[in-house]
């Protein structure tokens, strides 16, 4: 009797263990989910923008670590005024501003850029630091990037060396609303030791706001628009100044990003375009422009052998 009882207990115990096993051993499918659910937390979204710049505004993107971005930016002459028209092929014979520059990523989130503008022969150095990245689960809903830059005009007559210097600070906030639509809004502060234009009543520093969007039409082509407004009573009251507005198309061709745009502002650097934009669409003072950005990667080759 004792034997049978032991047998019975063992059987019951065995069954219960089996039952438990059945409950606890989920199907392979859910087991995979169980195993892989942990990795996808707060994952960074795919980049909100293809390039580090739109038309005037920098984007929240930075050049990745050990990458060098070479930039050529052009603004041509007026299309619709006397100097435009068919004779100059809508302003292509005149060049209003050219920017040549490089951007280097020291980390995936920090880049330094150096470049030169034709307007004012201004050399520019900028530091850009991506602080926050939007995540796929909206744990962080925005991208936040800080930009600090300095401009120097080595030529021309200035009272002192300090007067040649100007500064820009910017907090770039962007959100990728969908796979195709990204929007950004950036409060900007510009300080110019010798204000541009150098006329009485023009204060050296002012706030501005720049806003821009990218709408991806195809995998490789996006439409972009960029608008800037300086909050400056001097500029509002004088009646000469215009807010820079630009429209463009951005083409991405693996390694290159090519932007074709139309703007009223002549200047490429935000220090210049925010301070001193007087050309207006209404008077035919708009121009063709382009940006070529070419990325070079200096990361050492990783092979699967030494992975």
């Amino acid at each position: 009797m004792k034997k049978i009882f032991t047998l019975f207990v063992l059987l019951v115990a065995g069954m219960s263990v089996l039952a438990q096993q059945n409950n606890k051993t989920p199907s392979a499918d859910s087991m995979l989910n169980l195993l892989s659910s942990a990795d996808a937390q707060h994952e960074q979204i795919l980049p909100a923008f293809n390039a580090t710049r739109l038309i005037f505004s920098p984007t929240t993107e930075t050049v990745k670590k050990n990458n060098l971005n070479f930039l050529i930016i052009h603004r041509f002459g007026d299309m619709g005024t006397a100097i435009g028209g068919f004779r100059s092929f809508f302003g292509l014979d005149a060049v209003n501003d050219v920017y040549l520059g490089i951007e280097y990523g020291f980390t995936d989130n920090f880049q330094v850029s150096v470049g030169r503008n034709s307007i004012g022969q201004m050399g520019e150095t900028q530091f850009k630091w991506a602080l926050i990245h939007q995540s796929t689960d909206d744990h962080t809903p925005l991208n936040l990037t800080l930009l600090a830059g300095e401009g120097i005009r080595p030529y021309g007559s200035f009272a002192s060396f300090g007067d040649r210097l100007s500064y820009i600070g910017e907090l770039i906030i962007s959100r990728k609303f969908s796979r195709t639509f990204s929007f950004e809004l950036s409060p900007v502060y510009v300080w110019d030791n010798q204000p541009l234009p150098y006329v009485p009543g023009n204060p050296p520093g002012f706030f501005a706001l720049s806003t821009a969007f990218r709408w991806k039409v195809t995998k490789r082509m996006s439409l972009i628009a960029d608008y800037e407004h300086p909050f400056s009573s001097f500029r509002n009251n004088s009646g000469n100044f215009e807010d820079p507005i630009g429209f463009g198309a951005e083409f991405e061709t693996g390694g290159h990003v090519f932007t074709l745009n139309v703007t009223n502002a002549r200047a490429i650097s935000q220090i210049n375009s925010l301070s001193n934009s007087t050309s207006s669409y209404g008077r035919g003072q708009f121009r063709l422009g382009f940006t070529i950005s070419r990325m070079f990667d200096f990361n050492k080759k990783k092979t699967s052998n030494n992975y």
Binding site: D29, L32, L35, G254, S304, Y307
Partner: protein, 181 residues
């Protein structure tokens, strides 16, 4: 007591049979594309896999974003333009090993697995060969196969046609541990 012994043995064997589930949380996936112009190479060690040694059921799941490329721009383009990993975040394989080997014995067993391979939202039935090796009771799986970009609607535009191969070599290797609750 003899009966008890037999029952115990039977019970143990049933219990044992339920044990043959193995998991791997860090399978290594390597993809490789070779053209005369450039070689493209990416690795991930974040694939997860479940293998049931009793039934031969084998599954893999790879978060596509975990594949890291030599060039950061390649990685961006891979995710954004080719695999569209924001739409299709995972590459998966669900299949069955034909005549699963006895993993309680050490050895190297060539295996053939048939099942569904999915990437870029497109599923294809595939038959893939590989090896299962058991060394000191540790189960390792290795396989190599090719994936045709066109089979999974992965468009390669003209401009980079000479840079990206039409067939991508995929290497998989995973070391498994018995599944524990």
């Amino acid at each position: 007591m003899r009966f008890t012994g037999i029952v115990l043995l039977v019970w143990m064997s049933i219990f044992q049979a339920r044990q043959g589930v193995f998991v791997c949380k860090n399978a290594h996936i390597n993809i490789f594309s070779s053209t005369p112009i450039e070689d493209i190479d990416a690795n991930s060690i974040k694939a997860v896999s479940v293998y049931n040694a009793n039934t031969g059921d084998l599954e893999f799941s790879l978060p596509v974003r975990s594949l890291h490329f030599q060039k950061s721009l390649m990685e961006e383009h891979f995710n954004e333009n080719y695999i569209e990993s924001d739409k299709f975040p995972k590459a998966t394989f669900k299949g069955k090993i034909q005549s699963p080997p006895d993993v309680s014995k050490d050895g190297t067993y060539p295996v053939i697995v048939t099942g569904d391979f999915q990437i870029h939202g497109i599923t294809r039935a595939r038959t893939i060969s590989g090896t299962i090796s058991v060394v000191n009771g540790i189960v390792t799986l290795n396989s190599e196969f090719t994936v045709k970009c066109a089979d999974h609607n992965i468009d390669i535009p003209q401009i980079v046609f000479h840079n990206i191969a039409e067939s991508i070599r995929v290497r998989v290797s995973g070391t498994y541990a018995p599944f524990k609750n």
